[in-house]
Symmetry: C2
Subunit: 364 residues, 2 copies
Amino acid sequence: MKRRVFMKGAATAGVAGAAVAASTFSTPAIAKGKQKWIGVNTFGKAGLLGRAFDAFAKFVGEASEDRLSIKVYHAGELVKPFETFDAVQEGTAQIGLGAPYYWTGKSNAIQFVAGMPFGLNAQEQNGWLYQAGGLDMCNKVYNELGLQFLPCGNTGNQMGGWYNKEINTAADLDGLKFRMPGLGGEILKTFGVNVILLPGTEVLAALTSGAIDGTEWIGPVADRGKGLYKVAKYYYYPGWHEPATVLDCFINKKAFDGLDNSLRTIVEHAAAKTNLMLLSQFQALNNAAMDALINKEGVQLKTYSDELLQAIGKRATEVLPAIASKDKMSQELYDHLIAYRKTSVNWARLSEGAFIKAREYADL
Amino acid sequence: MKRRVFMKGAATAGVAGAAVAASTFSTPAIAKGKQKWIGVNTFGKAGLLGRAFDAFAKFVGEASEDRLSIKVYHAGELVKPFETFDAVQEGTAQIGLGAPYYWTGKSNAIQFVAGMPFGLNAQEQNGWLYQAGGLDMCNKVYNELGLQFLPCGNTGNQMGGWYNKEINTAADLDGLKFRMPGLGGEILKTFGVNVILLPGTEVLAALTSGAIDGTEWIGPVADRGKGLYKVAKYYYYPGWHEPATVLDCFINKKAFDGLDNSLRTIVEHAAAKTNLMLLSQFQALNNAAMDALINKEGVQLKTYSDELLQAIGKRATEVLPAIASKDKMSQELYDHLIAYRKTSVNWARLSEGAFIKAREYADL
């Protein structure tokens, strides 16, 4: 029913021609001519992620001299944000941009593609995905859903969250109404946290009214933009729950398989560049935004105590394997990820960890 | 004279046709037809960097349906490794791959493009280059040399180096014969280190014979491959001198400007993807190699003491600005880099730094 309504909406929006072309893309005649794809974005037009998807489509058109052109519809323009995955699975659109943990209702395993509490940072995720078999593992999950997955962005390190009281021990979490989606929220529940799920648009209002006592969002640049510092006093780090979050480009499998070699490589390179550009953007903007939050907005920066982080880490050690054990695919993906993580922990401590500390000894 | 000899060599190598085509690339007739470029690699064919340049060229050919094809010559195949920059400046080749600090003889400023002791890590470098004006700043340096620069790889964090005695204080450095190129070597000289410059192929022999007392090379995967653990006992971290090193794709400016919009975007995306792939490769392989060095090869891992790192950091605070002040371009690039670095230091401590430490509390 929902799909019928959607198809009507698509026709009304004047994209019927493109939809027809798209539905026949796999015939040789079309494959060798000019193809048109419909792209659906889970994120809004105005933000970094909207502009990134536009840039992605622009590159594909330019590089291929319009052998493949993608008409992008941002959140709500053609389908509702969380209906993008359905639209691409059904072939109504050919390509979408989102974040893997949004699709947990479709697949328990898929949330581990997005990232994991106490898991990998962005650079490690890219190492795993591109150079240690991670991409193939993830595509086992997506292929079963009729899709091809390409990593297409990364938030980098997130922050721990905003509170109006100090959080010193596990006891301070008990009874707290806190917004945190995904695997991190599952861990907090075991401390008696009342975990609330809210879309981004409602977070500030809920925090202002007291409907929630605190929230995590993303990191300095996004959190500053949302104005969270106006209604919450304390900003905690580190973001143990989302050390980095992968954004997913999901492509209808038949559409992807129907591309010739040249177009496939163009689409893959477009996704890789978008991945690198978005991470670089968060990195560059977070630097300055954190500076502004502290020095202009007077935010009180706090670190979670070692005692509390140890307690949360211990609980993660129990909760994450339990979620992974729910089905065979989740277990396989989790085991692959954990084997890579084991080698990462030590190297990160010796390299980035030790360097970040030593760097402060130079007053440049 | 050297160039004449080279041209003769090129003709002998059977690339005369390509060279002729390349020399006329900027005429409209060629610009709209099929172009052939010669690519020269500073690195050898067999390693990661050789394969990466081959993949780069393959993508450009595939994506453009051979509107632009690049014939790659690896180190020594057409010109000597350190003559690649000259060959591209002169237009004998159109594109090259190397590392910016190799070209310090051409430009004092260019070594800061590669990276800086106590400077930026790889993710921060990408943030600076792509999203904070760094790429334009670097291209001021390259454009003056008749070239266009695209970041095309990154080693990530390097290690501090190999020694056969413990290095506890600054006094232990005095009189040491140590191989370390670039800005890091300039800093060590002020501690009485006899800094030796040696190409990679001679490092192991020199360490074995006692011609040098120690060396830095890259990081676990490259150092293990070179067999350094067989002749040096102690492996020190962190790599304060090269927190990450950018690899450069340098393109003859006229050749680059002669590309149409489609080909230019293809070349830019090829470089960005190569940048991401190489960093991911070092990341993924270093994880496992460090594990093997410690657990299989019995390497004794040591950390530089805080006292020593403080002393080196203090010296870097004096030496680096002095090198940057040598000319106007160096000063401008350095100031731009340092302004970005100032905001990075704090955010890195709160994000990656704190996370890397906290992560060890989960036993996953």
